[in-house]
Structures are given as structure tokens and as C-alpha cells.
């Protein structure tokens, strides 16, 4: 089993077939294409996305419905093509795709990026960060609204 060095988890071994492939990287990290999903029972339901190309790069994510149980996914035709999914309808979360919200943790509070969820084809593990301006979702959705209100 291959191994990878990481800043946050030390050396981890992984099954090559479990790697998420982002053919175009992510916005701001266009040359980072391979991420390993890492879940620790102690921190579930958080799922970390550890870059295989940069030991220090690791995103913290939550399943989108943990953040917003009514979240409506909108993936552009272009992104559906990258995912290898039919372009004429939206994919089903949990069935065809995994949908993750990337968390940003700042002093002012934790926010989830609902404007651009990470969408992973569950069959092929092809992935995109699907920027969907039409939905009106925020890139800084407060994870705990009461905390944001207190600020």
C-alpha cells in the first residue's frame, strides 16, 4: 500500500483507489489534483481532504447536509462533464455523488463554503469544486449562526 507524508497526520498509508481526482485542481490550487479523504472516528463527521502533492495542504470538510439539511446542489454543465455525469440533470447526493462543504476556521467563527461545494462522483472518484453562483449560497456561510450573531 502506498504511503504519503503529511504535516497533520504524519505518514499515512492509503488505497490508491480511494484517492479523489480533481482534473483541474481547485480554485486557488489549480495544480493540486489528488486528494485523499481522511476520516478519524474521533472527529466524524468531519472529513479531511489531504493533498497527495503538498504535505501541508489539507482541507477540512463536512457533508453538505450536515451544514444545511435542505441544501440544493447545482452543478454547471461544464462541471458535470468533468465528473462524467449526465449534463441534463442534477446529480443525486449520496447516490451518485458525495457533496462536501469546505470549512474555513477563523477567529470570528467557522464558515462553510456553500457557494462552491466539493462534488465527488462516487463511482469514479472524479471530483470538482463546483462553483455555482446561480444558487445564491454564500462562500462564508456561518456554521453556527448564533456564534456569528454574537460577533
Amino acid at each position: 500500500m502506498p504511503e504519503t507524508e503529511t504535516t497533520n497526520f504524519g505518514t499515512i498509508s492509503f488505497a490508491p483507489e480511494s484517492v479523489f481526482e480533481f482534473p483541474h485542481g481547485l480554485p486557488g490550487f489549480e495544480d493540486r489534483r489528488q486528494f485523499l479523504p481522511v476520516q478519524n472516528p474521533a472527529t466524524a463527521p468531519i472529513l479531511f481532504l489531504q493533498s497527495l502533492e503538498d504535505p501541508a495542504l489539507c482541507f477540512t470538510t463536512l457533508p453538505i447536509w450536515v451544514v444545511d439539511r435542505h441544501y440544493r446542489l447545482h452543478v454547471t454543465e461544464q462541471d458535470l462533464e468533468i465528473l462524467g455525469l449526465p449534463a441534463d440533470r442534477q446529480p443525486r447526493i449520496g447516490d451518485e455523488v458525495m457533496c462536501l462543504a469546505v470549512l474555513a476556521i477563523r477567529k470570528a467563527g467557522t464558515t462553510a463554503n456553500l457557494l462552491a461545494p466539493v462534488v465527488v462522483n462516487l463511482k469514479t472518484y472524479q471530483a470538482v469544486q463546483a462553483v455555482s453562483p446561480e444558487t445564491g449560497y454564500s462562500h462564508q456561510h456561518p456554521l453556527f449562526p448564533q456564534e456569528a450573531a454574537a460577533c
Binding site: N8, G28, F29, T43, A44, L62, M98, I105, A116
Partner: protein
């Protein structure tokens, strides 16, 4: 500058913007630009900046604080199983 559907704007010698379609609340724009010039919606830049802010996991205490706030919402776990996460020992909570 005012343009009708199907009309074009030229910027310099190499960039062309076509007003392809005007809908009720949206305009479809076609852009022709040199390959080395990236053309993206402003939101993509915003997401790039947000990704840089999100690029490192929080310290263990901060993570625990987030989880502590998350866990009282019991619906979160049924959502997780719907999500189809198959890694390692997901769901082995408590």
C-alpha cells in the same frame, strides 16, 4: 456602452465579448480571449481566496470545539450515512 443581443464588444485586438442571449434576469456572454488569459466568473476568484483561508486544518482543541457544537444537532448523523462516505471507521462515533 449599450449592446443588443448578438452584438459584440472588442477589447484591444484580442478579446471579444458577445452578448449571446438576454434573458429576464440573466445575460449569457460569449468571451473569446487568448489562451493564456484565464476567463472566470468573479466567484471563482472568491472561492480561490476562501480555499487559501481554508487550506490547513484547525488545531485539535478548535476541532473539538466545532464538533461539540455540531453534535447536539442529532440530525447530522443521519445525513452522514446518506452521504455515502465509505472511508475507514465512519459512524463509529461514541
Amino acid at each position: 456602452m449599450s449592446r443588443r443581443q448578438g452584438e459584440t464588444i472588442l477589447i484591444g485586438g484580442e478579446i471579444e465579448i458577445v452578448i449571446a442571449h438576454i434573458g429576464r434576469s440573466r445575460v449569457k456572454v460569449g468571451i473569446r480571449a487568448p489562451r493564456q488569459m484565464p476567463v472566470v466568473a468573479q466567484e471563482v476568484k472568491l472561492v480561490g481566496e476562501e480555499n487559501h483561508a481554508a487550506a490547513q486544518p484547525p488545531s485539535a482543541p478548535v476541532l473539538q470545539a466545532i464538533l461539540a457544537q455540531l453534535i447536539p444537532g442529532s440530525h447530522t448523523f443521519s445525513a452522514l450515512s446518506d452521504e455515502g462516505i465509505v472511508r475507514q471507521d465512519a459512524g463509529d462515533k461514541n
